[in-house]
Amino acid sequence: MAKIAYYPGNVARAGASEVEDCIQPLCRALNIQLVEIPRSSSDGGNVIKQATPKLQDALVARNLALAEEKGLDIMTTCATSHAIMCNTAEDMKRDPVYAATINNLVERTSKIEYMGETKSWHLLHYLVEEIGLDAVRKAVKNPLKMKIASYYGPDMQRQGACAGDDPFMPTYMEQLIEALGGTPVEYDSKCQSVGSTSMLTLEDSSLSMTAAVLSDALESGAELVVSACTISHINLDSYQSKAGRVTGKSTSVPVCHLSEVVAFALGFYPDRLAQLRTRVRLIGS
């Protein structure tokens, strides 16, 4: 059984509890043992970094060190959280003096240090590279049978954070959707930002960016959008109708988290999958 530390990110155990509902059973079904890190904290969400990069890096290094203490890599369902962990690990590897400074702070406060052994995985990359699409395909009980557009966002689509996938023309999520019995839909905006960290401060731009992604997916024939980022999901979902109204674009499409569609396809929450199918039929594309 594969064993990995689990980092829920900033919202999976708050506003996006549906992620938490799904990640646990889907991992059990794929023989992945998730190990909790009860001492782990928020990673600063690239917001604290704007005031003090060192503070955000120290928070992240502490989380990585907690997983490292258990001898495990760490997995998250959020592209932003994954990218933040990759950034900190990369910055510390690049600059040993900076790493020593951060570790000194973490050691003084938490009696642990991050030695660079533990690496971060996004659920998507872990499923494709470590578990394998064949194993996923075999475990499918309810094929998705929908036209699905994948939303990656920009955070993890860069060298060093997207595993073996192409940073600019990724295909991992499309391959996974195919393995889950869905039909992937290609569209240009799948790595474009929806301004998730700025929705509260820069609403007009964020709404316009959100509408651009959703309308592009819809025009390409998507019936459902699946997001690899739990934070971006708030823009794509909660702000969806407002984005459509403000920009005059068509944005009405159901949006799910990646962990949700994987769990549904593996046979969990058949009632929710039925509900989702109903919504797809009612909303249409």
């Binding site: 928020s42 040993p96 003096v97 973490v106 909660s238």
Partner: protein, 655 residues
Amino acid sequence: MAIVAKVWIDEDCITCDACEDICPEVFKVTDETSQILAAVRTDGAFDRNEGGSPLVGTLGAELGDIILEAAEACPVEVIKFELVSDGAEVATVEAEAPAAEAAVAPAAAVAPAAGVSDALASVFAGDRSINILFGSQTGNAAGLAEKTAKMAENYGLTPNIVDMDGLDPARLASMKRVMIITSTWGEGEMPDNADEMWKAINANGPGLSATHYSVCAIGDTSYDEYCKAGHDWNDKLSALGGHQAHPIQECDVDFEPAWRIWVEEALPRLACVDESGTLQLEILEEMKAYGAGDDEDLVEGDFSPGTIQREELTITLEIFRYAPEAAESGWDTLTCNVPGHATIQDLLLTMQRDVDGSLAFRRGNGAGTPTTGVRVNGRIVLADATMVGDVMATSGRVRIEPLPGHPVVRDLIVDTSRYESHRSRAEPWMRTDPREGERLPSGMAMGTLDAASATALHQAGDVQSFQLIQAMSDALAHDSHYEGPGVHFQQWLRVLDPRTSEQQRRSIMSSLQEKDGIWSEADHASLMRYGEDGRLAARGLNEARSALLNQNRYAGKSGRLVKWYGRSVKWSGNVNETTLYRQVLGPLGLVSNVFSGVSARMALAFTRNGSPPIRSLQSLLLPPAGLGRIPKMFNSKVDNYHEVVSLFNEIDQRF
């Protein structure tokens, strides 16, 4: 990588904690002085290690660079160390005169490799020491001395790196081969560590008739007294009867290329100085070949370099086309074979010549012209500096589009006038305070810039094209007033420039804080993805935001978001979304969200899938199909929450 044999602390430590912060594995600062930890010393004592007990095991190699970093950071320069070169030869960084004497002791003869001529073999007999003296203020000259020492071994020399600090000038007389690497400080002054020796040699200089030498002078052309310290040494050694083996080399801010030219000439010449102190120039070419490691048997023949051919690629080329007169756009697609080493510009030129002469794009000179930006398979690149094979998809697809963030004029040509007009308004060019220093062509004084600041400034803004940085933003296309990251990054670099006037600095900071300023970028992640250039820009812009937050005390929505995000994490270890919405949007914003339907979608989870039991029952109904969860009003605290609070308190107590 530096390998440190031993490290000790001189008197007069001011207990500033800098060494312990940088290298807590070795240094521990007590109430009186910094000390070397017992665990890293062979004698197991805990004191200043005045006795010079060596470091245990491989610690000197593992922590060598960090120990040097700590020594450089020490404001009173009391951290002294001794280096090991390649684990065998000892190269001593001198701190005091007695140690300097040990460093210049004659080195044993070196056995040359087999196959050298008798003349070369005779030069290798006897003392082969070479003394590399450095005068360094910021560590650049010391770093070059280390590199020079490593290269010296290739010529059968035994290098001693000698800190000028505390070196008795009389010792120079016994040195056959001397290299001096020195920077110039302030207005033509000696670096601090060379000042004392300079005064001493002027007061009582020894005769140097048996000494061959060469000098490498580091300086900054923006100073009047460019490389003066180096010239002073060169003239002084000559006046004392020394023999110049190779002329002095001046090095500007980007000192490394010039140093390399110097060291590759000066070292073999000094290596040709034999035991009797005579320069044997007739073996110079053989010595150079020996040092370069190409002393293999010579074979005659045609050795002109061959042409490197990459395998031919079969690609499906898709080029965006736009005809403004008809307001029509579309894609030209064709499959073709191209040489693997062809650039994107080569492809476009061939298309234009052989397929469609009306194809429009900007041409460059083949060396990364900043205006040749296009998007290829999602990547933002310079067409004349990017090879097809490096960006081609595994399927063979090569999709070429205009640079995003700018209106398209025709085909791949974009209109950059908006960028230029924003840049023109932002005025990121230099405006200096009237003070001593170099002058601009306009006659305005531009102040001065030391080598370390100049290097840091170059590194901070070392990007291929600011237009490319502008195009990396995903937000730019959605806000016609936003000035863009390419413009703001240039402004921030100007703020970092020490020559910039205070008035300009204030004006730029104020402009960055304005409505269409730096907070209009919705997501730095969109920049971060574009390689090293994007990373540099994102880092610079984040620094600018930090500076603005400090200066404006977290004013405005962006300031409130950062402040309350931090506080919310400090309160529990987790983010509290309720707090954020309430504090950032304020009562009016919350009401607006109620009327716009955002709150309803959050509360009722309009498109979410719910969870049992209540939410699933809603699936029987039409949308809204599930009763979602509003964010928590209060978070439970993470385990050992005090550790998170301690981190905040250690690093930033503003939250």
